[in-house]
Subunit: 218 residues, 2 copies
């Protein structure tokens, strides 16, 4: 895949060694995340709200209520920033100054547009369900026409984007390595617990493999 | 504790039943999170970047390199939004439309200021280390004068803030409850794996309880 072209806005000003415009790296981070943080501006004030999403090819889909003010503003052409962060570990150094975190993050900048066609809209909504729980879509009822109209779907092209990744052990000052102080990484990951059935589950309903075998970090 | 006063900017426009201005709720979410997403505006374009932080009383501390352009702009009075999101579960409904997530999030709006006094600066940096790994500070070397000067510390008062929380099973359309479709919640949590010692650990260095007993969701 061709790398994404850097722009002045996506070029890291610092620690550029941690940056990447590799489309495969960017897509993998977007595909692993479940929640993105959407940044938008109202009267000069930035707002950052969490929401779910899906990537299909070089498009990022967001969705929400058609009454949602953030989505309505973004659909009208307000500039947006979508950030996805995966936290991989706590980096414990010998000095406070060199403590850090291992993470993988992606920032996508641009202008979104409203998805209006019924077919693309359904495709985007299906992609969001499948992104969060693969194989779920086949088990559930799809949107009715009324539900489809109540949802606003936005498409953001992944054309101005970059990734930033930190991995590995702490990097201490040379003199500090002799300190009798434990240093290393505490790895972190998001894990799924035992599924909790809805108290109103119809009797005898089987639990599907998509739920019992649910795995993060696919 | 007195609740935080709502403002038009922090009052939920939709699903206000999920909103809270309770200071205890807001503080608990901020204290459990490890990473916040900081929103700021450059030339009308919103940017959202992840970073760590700590809460001390009604102040949120951010830090980074003194050369960091985001922190420098925020320290100069640019409006900021700091959002912390804890993802608690995937809510699997019988219809695509009613799929959701269980989460706890906090949004803090305002203007940050640069922490200039050495004593408060050290206190803020210590708080960030302790926030991420409790009891870590006593084991490590604190910032030298040069390191202290290389760090910019910002303080953001938690005075304009709100929380949003979703818990519980899916809420389906009444007619959908009869569907022979599994529904419920897949709980999610960030978990710590086995600590990975730095390959350059001084021989015989003991691993402290703060690392072996590290627990998230304290």
């Amino acid at each position: 895949m061709k790398p994404i072209a850097p722009t002045p806005r996506t070029t890291l000003k610092r620690r550029s060694d941690r940056g990447s415009f590799d489309r495969g790296v960017i897509h993998a981070i977007l595909d692993e995340g479940l929640v993105c943080h959407v940044g938008f501006v109202v009267d000069g004030q930035p707002f950052v709200l969490p929401t779910t999403y899906a990537r299909v090819g070089d498009e990022l889909y967001l969705h929400g209520s058609a009454a949602n003010r953030m989505l309505t503003a973004l659909g009208a052409g307000a500039p947006v920033c979508v950030t996805v962060t995966l936290l991989d570990g706590l980096v414990l150094a010998r000095s406070a100054f060199r403590h850090s975190m291992n993470y993988r993050s992606v920032v996508v900048l641009g202008v979104a547009s409203v998805v209006t066609g019924e077919r693309e809209k359904r495709k985007a909504l299906d992609a969001i369900v499948e992104h969060v729980v693969p194989h779920r879509r086949a088990d559930i009822r799809g949107p009715s026409r009324e539900e489809l109209e109540a949802v606003l779907v936005l498409s953001l092209p992944i054309t101005e984007a970059s990734a930033k990744v930190r991995t590995g052990p702490p990097v201490d000052l040379e003199a500090d390595y002799a300190m009798p102080c434990w240093a290393g990484v505490i790895p972190l990951r998001l894990t799924a617990g035992n599924p909790e059935p809805d108290p109103r589950l119809a009797p005898g309903t089987a639990i599907p493999k998509s739920v019992t075998d649910y795995r993060l970090a696919r």
